[in-house]
Symmetry: C2
Subunit: 224 residues, 2 copies
């Protein structure tokens, strides 16, 4: 009995499913107001429905989906004012983190960011949206983790996830993508040159285009 049974089917961690669904929502593969059926998802990921329920609860607290008792879960539909409010908090938090980050940063932090940045740029060039999404996420996570306040970094991560719904509609835009890639390179540059003022400015400005793109897209669809 010492030997564990060989697991034929790889044990799927709930957080893996959560991440996958976040990705689906962020990339617009599941759209706002679209319904998430527990059994469908259970089948798709090859797990029990309870695991899916747990995942859905997580997504709810993150703010990506809304659940109603006995009625199920749907992707949240963010109104322009929601997006404005979320981004107001993001600017506040991310600006603060940029103020706190150690300058000059530890060499390994810069090294990691450079590596991520390059892979992100390549993925963008190749049009691999999934990788672009993941590497962008990783870049920001790595950057803000360096601020020295894990609780602040968590909050930033949390609000970045909330904003993903808003980004789903404009995620494919090559212009936005190109600009994001360039700004990542600039952020690394400001880190290396210990240029606090520009770092803080860019950290805040960096997220604005995606907000504007969403508001613009919303206006276009529903009129002003």
């Amino acid at each position: 009995m010492a030997v564990a049974k060989a697991k034929v089917t790889a044990a799927i961690d709930p957080s893996v499913i959560t991440n996958k669904l976040e990705e689906d929502i962020a990339l617009g593969r599941i759209l706002p107001r679209e319904r998430l059926i527990e059994e469908e998802l259970a089948l798709r990921f090859g797990v029990n429905r309870h695991v899916i329920r747990q995942v859905l609860m997580e997504l709810e607290t993150i703010g990506l989906i809304a659940r109603q008792k006995n009625k199920g879960a749907t992707v949240r539909d963010l109104l322009p004012e929601d997006v404005t409010n979320i981004y107001a908090v993001r600017e506040l938090l991310e600006g603060k983190a940029a103020e706190l980050i150690e300058l000059p940063p530890k060499p390994e932090v810069v090294a990691r960011l450079k590596d991520i940045q390059e892979r992100h740029a390549k993925a963008a060039e190749a049009g691999e949206l999934t990788n672009v999404f993941r590497l962008n996420l990783l870049f920001h996570k790595t950057f803000f983790a360096a601020c020295g306040n894990p609780h602040l970094a968590d909050a930033i991560q949390h609000f970045a996830l909330k904003a993903h719904i808003a980004r789903s509609l404009t995620v494919g835009d090559p212009k936005l993508l190109k600009r994001a890639v360039e700004e990542h390179a600039q952020i690394v540059h400001y880190l290396e040159t210990a240029d606090r003022a520009n770092l803080v400015r860019l950290a805040v400005e960096h997220i604005i285009p995606s907000k504007d793109a969403y508001l613009e897209s919303y206006r276009r669809r529903f009129g002003m």
Copy 2:
């Protein structure tokens, strides 16, 4: 022995249990590193173990407890640096909210805050810790909800809950309590007189004493 199923019309909502456990942690009835056994809690609240699991997951995302796979849940033990970091975020968020709040505020907001403040003061005088806890929570929630940014208000609420672990050790201190009551009255006053500068200042300063009390208490217990 006797019966235990007194609740024919029960239907206990999970959030009620969550709130009760938050209270227990905040008031120090359950201490850091103490274990939370699912079946015990299920028995205590007269619900199925699954409900408790759900509650524990919520408490985990709030940050009040830590869970390890197959090992169960314990109340989180906040190190001084955690408390410092959490309060840094609180000051940032609550300061911002105070800047955003509409001045002069709507009359009904002031009326509600006054009512809560008076009941809070009475509870403090009577030494009813449970009511003090609840009314203090309600006061802050009502105040920050008035900032006009629900996402910001949520984040504030979230971090206030995280901080509750830290407050559990000093919650009984009459000096702190007296000061909190007075400052609530002052906050209402600054609202009525539309005194933005003082309002922002006090909103930030108001939470500092409980942070300092925790750090002090920690030093005393483990030496400096």
